[in-house]
């Protein structure tokens, strides 16, 4: 089980975390990576925005 990950791998996990729960070590490896990597923090923040956008969109869809 890897603790140090590439940005490519972190991206994959951030995307997958939207469709499955991450294991404890996976989640830890992300937090460690984010301490040192601004690019991946940006990607994480972008994905959070997208998730909020999808939640809001779902509400619009049902309510309009």
């Amino acid at each position: 089980m890897k603790i140090r990950r590439t940005c490519r791998d972190v991206t994959r996990l951030v995307l997958e975390s939207q469709d499955r729960p991450l294991g404890a070590l996976e989640a830890l490896s992300l937090r460690l990576h984010w301490l040192a990597c601004g690019g991946c923090r940006r990607f994480r923040d972008q994905q959070q925005l997208m998730q909020q956008a999808m939640d809001r969109w779902r509400q619009y869809r049902d309510g309009d």
Binding site: C7, T11, R42, Q46, L49, M50, W57
Partner: protein, 191 residues
């Protein structure tokens, strides 16, 4: 008697919107027409009295979602065909080749969610981006995000493996991100 024809008229008035939703999910006009027809027939067989238009719409959308899943199940093989677009691996353009697999470019700062999510046009762009996903990616993405099916359920309905699904969702999410970057965030003036 006029109640029934009022009801039929109300139901029929919702057809264009239902068709839009069905097309967005199914990415196939014929399947969408079938799903909507079946939905409207189901509605007309049961002219319950709805307190208001919004309840009728909610109910019709719920029925539509079931009919849409039926279509996906029925046409599973065709619904999971990959086009060349589906095969495009965005990862290659995002990350460098080295073993470190770093970002080639720093992802831009999109700013606060509220700056964008308060604008109606943002959601118009988001929907257009979703509709522009390659068909199989689009179907799978909408099954997660609109039908809110679990990954197991999607695999079961479409008869695909979990691995297939992860790849499709990965690509869909990266594509969507890229589309939003190009068509919204590159020009964005926060509200």
């Amino acid at each position: 008697m006029s109640d029934t024809s009022d009801f039929a008229a109300q139901v029929e008035a919702l057809r264009p919107q239902l068709l839009r939703f069905a097309r967005s999910q199914l990415r196939n006009d014929a399947w969408a027409e079938d799903a909507v027809s079946e939905t409207l027939l189901a509605a007309l067989e049961k002219p319950h009295s709805f307190a208001g238009r919004s309840q009728l719409k909610t109910w019709l959308v719920a029925v539509l979602k079931h009919k849409v899943i039926d279509q996906l199940r029925r046409h599973a093989r065709e619904a999971t065909v990959l086009t060349t677009d589906d095969g495009e691996d965005l990862d290659e353009s995002l990350f460098d080749d080295s073993s470190r697999g770093h970002w080639r470019e720093m992802p831009p700062d999109w700013g606060s969610p509220e700056a964008h999510l308060g604008q109606r046009q943002f959601f118009e762009v988001l929907e257009a981006c979703m509709d522009h996903l390659p068909p199989t990616q689009g179907r799978v993405f909408m099954m997660r995000e609109w039908l809110e099916l679990s990954t197991d359920e999607i695999c079961k309905e479409l008869q695909i493996t979990a691995t297939n699904l992860w790849v499709l969702l990965h690509r869909a999410r990266l594509r969507l991100r890229e589309c939003l970057q190009q068509h919204w965030f590159n020009n964005a003036r926060p509200a």
